[in-house]
């Protein structure tokens, strides 16, 4: 019987946030929460599947900024301190709730979750999660790819192929540093594609990328197999389109599985619920309430009082939702088999942080789906690389401009709230290209300056800043980051134009932004564009 192929893709990314100049920094919590609730639970799941010899294939995109943070000693120290604080809070919570058995059970549940997390991170993985991912890749279950260096949303930089090249080259450099080999594929940030981008991918030996579904079905010619097989760009690079239908079963905030009333509520957290004096040591100084990870309530319903979270009831829903998804997959597979002339390939990509962080039960659901596919006979997991080995001949087609953002194009990253940033980022890119022309073969101190200028340009290009500004969370921070990177770049530019160098400033700034330690400013060379 012919089997439908399933390509699960998890894209793990966080912006580079590391502030050694402060003893604690609020936005570093993004990283701590994701490690605790997403990356470690996913690793746990992968290990369980391996232990039980369940065959599985997952494509995991790890962004260069995330890789750098996972490998960073300061953040490792701070993460451990963060977990220790969570455990301390847990102990207080167990004490505080001892008169209420139901609440107490949840306090114990979370305390043991944090204790286990700390034990695994310190003692099992020796604080080296990159090595864990490398080992998973070595056994063939997980195929690791990369994305743009700072997750720049590339369609907004198509006027500057040098900058797009720099995003890709710096990403590959970081990937090779951590994984010792080049990836075969590339995750375009937010599936942002514009015709011609494939030339830069090919120049960097990247064989495939992923697009939104309308990137393929709205191409200039008919996609003969719709989105159920990759298409080959005229230059030979393959594009895999996302299955909107299947992704949506999980993505939908209103109708998706994660919205089930039995699941843990993301927002109700004792960081907001409890008395300020009690919670003050575990929130942000002086008194900014934040999530602590102790979330005692289930989603429960749209209105009214929230019910206490019941992990057993949630586990039951996980099993039901996994079965439902498998049924949906099989049904879609049967329907699609009649439409295309080979086994359909369903590409289902997600932001990894959906699993565990927002949807607490997500990793368990994923595990059950994978186990279900492995034990059935209608679906087989398959990575894009494996697919292309089996089917190297695919329809030649030029995909269309697209993304998975609002309106399907750029409006998340380019709207009335954030459009002001582009004149500055583009201005800095132009100046960076000019610096490469003016100082073609520098070494020692001037090269350090130029390298740092390139680093600042990459950092300002991150898609997270306009996204955050548009979305309205942490706007202050995102705006400050853009302003700081533009400011820092212009210090270098002005210094070089005046032929002076402020080494004290450079050393201080390099220590703050430790990302891309081996960067070479020549990645912005205009000679690389053709």
């Amino acid at each position: 019987m012919s089997k439908a192929k399933i390509g699960l893709v998890l894209h793990a990314h966080l912006p580079f946030v590391r502030h050694p100049e402060y003893p604690k920094f609020l936005e570093e919590n993004w990283f701590f929460e994701a490690v605790t609730e997403t990356y470690l639970p996913l690793i746990r799941m992968f290990n369980r599947l391996r232990r039980d010899e369940v065959p599985f294939r997952i494509t995991l995109s790890l962004s260069p900024t995330l890789m750098t943070m996972l490998a960073d000693n300061l953040l490792k120290e701070r993460y451990v301190a963060h977990l220790e604080r969570s455990i301390e809070l847990g102990m207080k919570e167990v004490e505080r709730t001892k008169g209420d058995p139901e609440l107490n059970r949840l306090a114990v549940f979370y305390l043991s979750f944090f204790e286990r997390t700390l034990f695994e991170y310190n003692d099992i993985y020796r604080r080296d999660l990159i090595k864990v991912f490398r080992d998973l890749e070595a056994v063939g279950s997980v195929s690791i790819i990369t994305t743009a260096a700072t997750h720049g949303f590339l369609p907004l930089y198509q006027e500057y192929p040098e900058a797009v090249q720099a995003q890709i080259e710096a990403a590959l450099m970081t990937h090779v540093t951590h994984f010792r080999s080049k990836p075969k594929g590339f995750w375009l940030p937010d599936c942002g594609y514009y015709p011609g981008l494939e030339h830069i991918l090919k120049r960097n030996d990247l064989g495939y990328f992923f697009t939104a579904s309308h990137g393929v079905v709205l191409a200039n010619h008919k996609a003969e197999r719709g989105i159920f097989a990759p298409v080959k760009c005229p230059n030979g690079v393959h594009a895999f389109a996302r299955s909107y239908e299947l992704s949506q079963a999980i993505w939908s905030e209103q109708d998706g599985y994660p919205a089930d009333y039995a699941y843990r509520d993301f927002y109700r957290d004792i960081g907001y619920d409890l008395d300020l004096e009690y919670i003050r040591p575990y929130i942000h100084e002086p008194q900014v309430r934040v999530f602590t990870g102790y979330k005692y309530y289930a989603i429960s319903g749209k209105k009214g009082e929230k019910r206490l979270y019941n992990p057993e009831a949630a586990a039951q829903r996980v099993a039901e939702h996994a079965r439902n998804f498998l049924y949906t997959l099989e049904r879609s597979s049967k329907r699609t088999t009649q439409l295309v002339d080979r086994e359909p390939y369903f590409v289902i990509p997600f932001d990894a942080e959906l699993f565990g962080h927002w949807w607490f039960e997500g990793p368990d659901w994923l595990e059950q789906v994978i186990r279900g596919m492995a034990s059935g006979d209608e679906l087989v997991m398959c990575n894009p690389g494996e697919y292309l080995q089996e089917y190297p001949d695919n329809q030649e087609l030029q995909p269309a401009f697209s993304s998975w953002g609002n309106d399907g194009y750029c409006s998340t990253w380019l709207d009335g709230s954030n459009d002001w940033i582009y004149r500055h980022i583009h201005g800095c890119i132009e100046r960076m290209i000019e610096l490469v022309d003016r100082f073609p073969n520098q070494d020692s101190l001037k090269k350090r300056f130029l390298d740092h200028a390139a680093r600042e340009v990459l950092l300002m290009m991150g898609s997270d800043w306009p996204f955050i500004i548009s979305n309205g969370t942490s706007m202050n921070y995102a705006e400050r980051r853009i302003r700081e990177h533009v400011h820092n770049f212009n210090i270098v530019y002005d210094n070089l134009c005046r032929n002076t160098v402020d080494t004290e400033w450079l050393t201080r700034t390099e220590k703050k932004y430790t990302i891309f330690p081996d960067i070479d400013y020549q990645i912005f060379s205009r000679h690389k564009r053709s």
């Binding site: 936005e27 514009y194 579904s213 079905v217 932001d351 609002n406 750029c410 380019l414 955050i468 700081e484």
Partner: protein
């Protein structure tokens, strides 16, 4: 969540937040009134934010959802000024979606001085040129239209009238019968796609229609967030309605 947050703040801080949110009489409101008004605005802002997000973006936002941003102005952190301009005259186009482009520009004050000295009173227009083929000179454009701009303007969202066309923007100074193109932009292409131009063909071919639907709709029949997909679906719906009526 927000009320506890706001409750813990001083009136001075609440007034600062109120000012940032555009509450005109923030200085005159008392504590309770300030909290009520701020909460109301925050609620509206949240609704706006959520309503414009598609599912992917909405969930992506959770990743950064740590706290209420308005209440966390970092003390002592420098806010760097951005360069006022880049001392050049240039215009850039960024394609936002198939129907809209963002155009931003910068005019070197020296260029303005020269125009003022030689021409006296002048006006500026942003001219949008549409082409049927790429890389043609401005004079070969299929059509163009002008948007009057003021000296202090620096950007504009431009509605692209036709799909599958190339566009270039230029900045033009005018005085009487005299006009001069100050600079031209990069070229952008507004995509249409095969099915946009062949909706009838799509409708008449059941296999193609099924493939299209399977690609762009979910199990509840909601279509993917794309203005072009929406217009194809609407046109298909209209044709269905017509057929039923006839």
């Amino acid at each position: 969540m927000a009320d506890q947050h706001l409750d813990s703040m001083s009136v001075h801080r609440l007034r600062l937040i109120g000012k940032r949110l555009g509450i005109k009489d923030a200085q005159e409101l008392n504590r309770a009134e300030l909290i009520d008004t701020i909460e109301e605005i925050l609620e509206e802002r949240l609704d706006d934010r959520l309503s414009k997000n598609n599912e992917v973006m909405s969930l992506k936002g959770k990743k950064f959802d740590l706290f209420d941003d308005l209440c966390t102005e970092a003390v002592g952190e420098p806010i760097y000024d951005l360069p006022h301009s880049y001392a050049e005259t240039s215009v850039h186009m960024i394609l936002r979606d198939p129907y809209w482009a963002y155009v931003y520009w910068n005019i070197n004050p020296k260029d303005i001085e020269v125009i003022k000295e030689t021409r006296g009173t002048y006006s500026l227009v942003l001219r949008i040129h549409e082409f049927t083929h790429p890389r043609l000179p401005l004079s070969k454009c299929r059509k163009s239209f002008d948007i009057p701009i003021r000296e202090e303007d620096t950007s504009w969202y431009v509605n692209l009238l036709d799909l599958s066309r190339w566009y270039v923007a230029s900045l033009v100074a005018q005085a009487g019968t005299w006009s001069e193109t100050l600079c031209g932009s990069n070229e952008i292409y507004s995509p249409g796609g095969y099915w946009m131009e062949r909706i009838q063909e799509l409708k008449s071919d059941q296999r193609e229609l099924d493939l299209f639907h399977a690609a762009v709709t979910d199990l509840s029949g909601h279509e993917v967030d794309s203005v072009l997909v929406k217009s194809i679906m609407e046109e298909l719906g209209r044709q269905d309605d017509k057929e039923q009526q006839s």
